[in-house]
Amino acid sequence: MQFFFEVLITGLLSGVMYALVALGFVLIYKASGVFNFAQGAMVFFAALTTVALQEKFGISLWIAIPITMVVMIAFGFLTERIVLRPLVNQNEIVLFMATIGLTFFLEGFAQLVWGSGVRALDLGIPDEPIAAILDSAGMVVSKFDVTAAVICGVLVAALAVLFNKTKIGRALRAVADDHQAALTVGIPLQHVWGIVWAVAGFVALVAGLLWGSRSGVQFALTFVALKALPVLILGGFTSVPGAIVGGLIIGATEKLAEVYLGPYVGGGIEGWFPYVLALLFLVVRPEGLFGEKIIRRI
């Protein structure tokens, strides 16, 4: 039983990080209706830029991070200008394909500029069991995981405030609800989209740093980010709480499945389990956990 909880907690903690990546998707989808497949590539790009800046210019992490931040914001605005603006009013699938193109471009670009080896990233948070929990409950819970979860929690809360309490947030929501209406009341749409992409870039940076320091900064990060897709399927594309709950469910079930089911089938099921879970879930509830059922009009 104790082992079960240990696995569960590890799973939930990594689920928080999935949720963070998923959040980047939700932000962009809500505000611009673009399903941004490139979110994973952005995570990779951000993490790689941070380590490579340190490596190439010998600067410290705390200088590299803000520089990367600026790069990500610039990337966000450039994407809006170069890719999305010409495609405005196209259907969702076309935009989705464009972000697949963006993914490839960004992955190639990142490795072309910074090289393609595996890099270590040290945030100075040790990946060791928390002594108090180990002593009292005998469970191994990583300090790093807990810190990462706390950071994610704070970020999610901050985004919730940004979305619900600030003027920009209100504009974002207005845009999300109805593009046309937002335009007629004079909300500068392109501006808003640029901001959303920049925020998504920031979220990608945080996710990239956390994932990167846990498993090394490498191309495989893009696959970790792909896991955000089943998270979104569970939670629905437009729901912030959905992304969080979905992330936790995916994180927990994939770890549990790996530990309890894996040995019977030769292991490695983490790679597909979330997708199959999401798929089965979809068949039962096509509108997601938090989505509403719609009857299509004709």
């Binding site: 399903f35 170069i82 890719v83 010409p86 495609l87 196209q90 969702e92 699938i93 076309v94 989705f96 394909m97 464009a98 697949i100 193109g101 963006l102 993914t103 490839f104 471009f105 960004l106 992955e107 190639g108 670009f109 490795q111 072309l112 393609s116 792909l226 897709l229 089943p230 979104l232 399927i233 594309f237 089938v265 030769g266 292991g267 490695g268 099921i269 790679g271 597909w272 997708y275 199959v276 999401a278 798929l279 979809l282 068949v283 096509p286 299509r296 004709i298």
Partner: protein, 352 residues
């Protein structure tokens, strides 16, 4: 004045119902077939067969498969390579386990296995659409490759998980040179492409396009959505399955399941997008284009003296940029450019 429809009055619907109703198109196709079947086999080098023509044709076949599903039936899939893998590994097992199995039959059976898997993974499409479907096709991609890697039976208990395609022999003739393999692929791809062309201009194809464009209306007209979607998945997967088998037998020779990874799925999606969504001809154009880019880039890199790792990253960037470029500038891809070119030619030398 070269390309003219004028003067070719259709005396009956029979002539209009030909596969290529315009005489110049018929001549064009005949010329291309002549080049493919006669000129190239006589002149090309082994490198040209095995590095360019054979993969081009195989990718074109897979692209037709994906185009049926995505371009005609409107169901976005990111799992094309998984169906290719099923086709390849199924064909391999039919060959390995049944004595005297004719290789062409093994390809067809491989395709049928892929079709069955396609139907199973197509079931969610009955309830979900758009990105939800696209995301769920990733399940196919990861699950199938994992299965083929983890279950030793599929690779005939090969320790490394790698299979070596058996010798291809048809009616006593051995296909063991690059040239003969090319010809075999060419025959299969030509026949299957013509069949695809027939399918998309008949009721099956119209049913696919109808559910793509407006599924409620399609249902009201009497198309059965379930049946239509699942045939699209089945036939598309069949094409991909045969392409996957050819990929193993006529191109790579030895393969592991990882050879059919997500990257291949994306590559084929790019061929569809660049070639032309919903176009059989476009499938060839897109495949040709995407096969040639890495070759062109490697020449470029070679001449400019850049390092080799640059090529693969440059390739990713070029693919990505091209996709975005085409989506913005010509969403109907090379097929539409071809069409426009033909129309220009038709008016020439009178520009108006």
């Amino acid at each position: 004045m070269i390309y003219r429809e004028a003067g070719q009055f259709k005396t009956s619907y029979v002539t209009d119902a030909q596969i290529f109703p315009i005489a110049q198109d018929r001549i064009g196709i005949a010329l291309m077939l002549l080049v493919a079947f006669v000129v190239i086999p006589r002149t090309a080098t082994p490198y040209f067969f095995s590095a360019i023509m054979t993969p081009f044709l195989i990718y074109a076949l897979a692209t037709i498969g994906l185009n049926i599903l995505t371009g005609y039936a409107g169901q976005l899939s990111l799992g094309t390579a998984a169906f290719m893998a099923v086709g390849a590994f199924a064909s391999y097992n039919f060959m390995a386990r049944i004595d005297g199995m004719p290789v062409l039959l093994a390809f067809i059976l491989g395709g049928i296995c892929a079709a069955l898997v396609g139907i199973v993974f197509g079931l969610p499409s009955l309830r979900i659409r758009g990105f939800y479907l696209a995301a769920s096709t990733l399940a196919t991609q990861f699950f199938v490759v994992w299965c083929l890697t983890k279950v030793p039976w599929f690779t005939n208990n090969s320790a490394s998980g790698v299979i070596t395609a058996q010798q291809i022999e048809i009616l006593g003739y051995r296909f063991d040179t690059p040239q003969s393999k090319y010809l075999l692929v060419l025959v299969i791809v030509t026949v299957m492409a013509l069949m695809a062309k027939n399918l998309v201009r008949s009721t099956t194809g119209r049913a696919w396009m109808a559910i793509r464009d407006m599924d409620v209306a399609a249902e009201v007209i009497g198309f059965r959505i379930v049946h239509t979607k699942l045939t699209a998945f089945a036939i598309s997967s069949f094409y991909c399955g045969v392409a996957g088998a050819l990929y193993a037998y006529c191109y790579l020779g030895t393969v592991e399941p990882e050879a059919y990874n997500l990257d291949v799925s994306f590559r084929i999606l790019f061929m569809v997008l660049i070639g032309g969504v919903g176009s059989i001809l476009g499938s060839f154009l897109g495949a040709g284009f995407i096969v040639l880019i890495p070759i062109a880039l490697s020449y470029l890199v070679h001449f400019t003296g850049l390092s080799n790792s640059v090529t693969s990253n440059l390739e990713l960037m070029v693919f990505g940029a091209l996709i975005i470029f085409f989506l913005i500038v010509e969403p109907h891809g090379l097929a539409r450019l071809w069409q426009i070119g033909k129309e220009k030619l038709r008016l020439w030398p009178f520009p108006h």
